[in-house]
């Protein structure tokens, strides 16, 4: 009995040691990958920030309305810094996944290939989001100025509506790109967007018919008023 117990103990210890010895290089590989991730991520971040600084990307993002737009969402960091941090984490995660893959655990099998397969979607989604923010700012600014110059009272409301329409559209596109609840997003977007357009059409048709008629007449006929000057 005692021998059997001893044998079982030794066997378990041997197995444990064998497994430990086999696992140790994998663990070291993970640690190395994490360390490499930190170093390479930091280098990429540094390089990217230098390039962005050289091309005056912060001025460009300020001009395109990206910085103020992010400021409104509570992000106080400058855009190049934000992109630098993002690049760091992307690179670090990339190495971290390689490390986890190196552990060869059944639970994380093919993690790396899955993540790599998903990466293009993430990159595309980031681009779509970035373009969406820029487009939302640009179009709302254009609409605001045009509405103010046309002396439309609800200029800011119209501009905000345009901004949010573009933002909602962008969010829907990003979620679709990421494959998150694709069908629900498309259906929800169609219902909301279609509903808004229908509501506006009904509102204009029933409530604002006269105003629309007058506005169109005024615009198309361009009757001369007392305050109309020859500007040029």
């Amino acid at each position: 009995m005692s021998e059997m117990w001893q044998e079982a103990m030794v066997e378990a210890f041997r197995e444990m040691t064998r497994r430990g010895v086999l696992f140790l290089p994998k663990l070291m590989a993970l640690a190395t990958f994490l360390l490499l991730g930190l170093v390479v991520g930091w280098l990429v971040k540094l390089l990217l920030m230098r390039i962005l600084k050289a091309v005056r990307f912060d001025v460009l993002s300020e001009r395109m309305g990206l910085t103020p737009a992010l400021g409104k969402t509570g992000m106080k960091q400058r855009v190049p810094h934000l992109i630098g941090r993002l690049s760091f984490w992307v690179v670090f995660l990339f190495f971290a996944f390689m490390g986890v893959d190196a552990l060869d655990l059944p639970a994380t099998a093919n993690l790396m290939s899955t993540m790599l397969g998903f990466l293009p979607h993430v990159v595309a989604a980031i681009f779509v989001a970035l373009l969406g923010v820029l487009l939302a700012n640009f179009s709302s600014e254009a609409v605001l100025i045009a509405a103010v110059n046309a002396q439309i009272q609800g200029a800011r409301l119209i501009a905000n509506m345009v901004r949010w329409a573009v933002v909602i559209f962008t969010v829907a596109m990003v979620l679709t790109q990421l494959g998150i609840a694709k069908e629900i997003v498309v259906a929800a977007f169609s219902i909301i967007f279609g509903g808004i357009v229908l509501a506006m059409a009904i509102a204009l048709g029933l409530g604002g018919r006269t105003i629309a008629k007058e506005a169109l007449e005024q615009r198309l006929r361009r009757e001369k008023t007392d305050d109309e000057l020859t500007h040029i």
Binding site: E141, A142, A150, L229
Partner: protein, 425 residues
């Protein structure tokens, strides 16, 4: 491919190789006015330049009312005539600039002018006179007034000056002309349309490719021609042409678009000619030809309500944009204007000049999209115009002219502010 209508000239007038005077007539559906304009041109050419070799060129951009046929019939065999279509040189509408029409209201006018420049250069024309076909008040003397300074006095550019109603051309008088005067030191009225005279030398310069870059030449050929001539140091004259009665057509170009085109052209050339305007101080008058123009015609009372309302709405809604464009001291000055009653509303000249200069610096720095920047100036311009009307409401044309002149001097006096901000912003 046609090159600015030159091949059409060669086909139609093979015997013409060199001319003293090129007469250009840009047209687009001008059947109702073109005959009288052409008759005045022909009478003027016969009377003043009987011994000169002349080519009449009609650059028609696609009239559907038989305008070129009327021109052909009217000219007959008096002078060689070339009918060209400037839009056949492979040009096409810019798909990214839909619904954009220059403030002249005539589509393709810029291309028509480009044709005249090309033909003038190829024919080594000593002078070129371009007269708008929509102007009913063209008289035979116009030919002499526009061509004679070029042919006999070595002028390179003859700009038109008309007798105008006291508040006519407020954008030109309050912004474009004072800015041009302060920048380049020449007192040109910067009035647009009607008629122009220019030398073959200047036409060749106008044809240089880089001048046509950007929207300045494409949507504001009139102010573009004046600015380039003045900035390049050419001999600029002004022809006092009397009253301009024009066939006004409905145009979709609104105030903000007009402002963006005219002011955009001025700002655009500020970047190109920085080294020229930075060293100029003060201004000098340019030589004039023609009978002195009497005081402007009194116009009907102008209601400023809508203009003040436009300014106030701008102040309320465009403030975040103005905060980016204007210097803090300018912005605080503008903010206080919103507190005044309509009757007491005043937009002080120094503040207006500072605003225009701040916008120029912001345009240069590209702080926001340039078209947005230019259009966001509209409420401020309406505010200044309302102020001009209120300041001179009890006075006549002389008082308006006096205020405009004061504005020009303020632009000149405050130029160091612009130079400093432009350099060190």
């Amino acid at each position: 491919m046609q090159r600015g209508g030159w091949e059409q000239v060669q086909e139609q007038c093979p015997e013409v190789h060199k001319v003293d005077l090129l007469v250009g007539l840009p047209t687009f559906n001008h059947a109702s006015t073109v005959e009288s304009v052409m008759n005045a041109i022909l009478s003027g050419a016969k009377a003043s330049f009987a011994h000169a070799s002349i080519l009449v060129t009609n650059a028609d951009v696609g009239s559907q009312d038989g305008t070129p046929e009327i021109v052909k019939r009217t000219v007959g065999s008096l002078f060689p005539l070339a009918l060209v279509n400037p839009l056949t040189e492979g040009m096409s509408a810019n798909p990214f600039a839909p619904n954009r029409l220059s403030y002249s209201g005539m589509p393709g006018r810029e291309e028509a002018f480009r044709s005249f420049f090309t033909i003038a250069e190829r024919l080594q024309a000593k002078a070129c006179v371009v007269i708008d076909a929509a102007v009913r008040s063209v008289t035979p003397e116009w030919m002499d007034l526009l061509a004679q300074p070029v042919l006999e006095k070595d002028a390179d550019y003859v700009a038109p000056v008309f007798r105008r109603q006291r508040y006519e051309g407020t954008l030109t008088n309050n912004l474009v002309a004072p800015l041009t005067r302060a920048l380049y030191g020449k007192r040109v009225a910067c009035q647009t349309g009607g008629g122009y005279g220019f030398s073959g030398r200047l036409a060749s310069l106008y044809l240089q490719k880089d001048f046509w870059e950007g929207d300045a030449a494409r949507f504001g050929i009139d102010s573009w021609m004046t600015t380039v001539a003045v900035a390049e140091g050419f001999q600029v004259w002004q022809a006092l042409l009397g009253t301009k009665i024009q066939d006004v057509r409905g145009t979709t170009v609104d105030v903000s678009m007009m402002l963006a085109q005219a002011v955009g052209a001025s700002y655009h050339y500020m970047e190109r000619y920085q080294d020229v305007w930075e060293k100029h101080a003060g201004s000098s008058p340019v030589p004039e030809v023609g009978r002195p123009i009497e005081a402007g015609i009194e116009s009907a009372a102008i209601k400023v309500e809508r203009m003040v309302k436009g300014f106030r709405q701008g102040l309320r809604d465009l403030l975040p944009i103005w905060e980016i464009i204007l210097a803090p001291e300018t912005l605080s000055g503008v903010l206080t204007l919103g507190l005044r009653d309509e009757e007491d509303f005043r937009f002080p000249l120094p503040l207006w000049v500072q605003t225009v200069y701040d916008f120029a610096v912001a345009y240069h720095e590209k702080v926001i999209h340039r078209e947005h920047l230019l259009k966001s100036l509209t409420p401020l311009y309406l505010g200044r115009t309302a102020s001009l009307v209120l300041e001179t409401i009890d006075g006549g044309s002389d008082e308006v002219q006096h205020t405009i002149e004061q504005g020009c001097r303020t632009f000149e006096a405050m130029k160091p502010y612009l130079v400093e901000r432009w350099r060190f912003q």
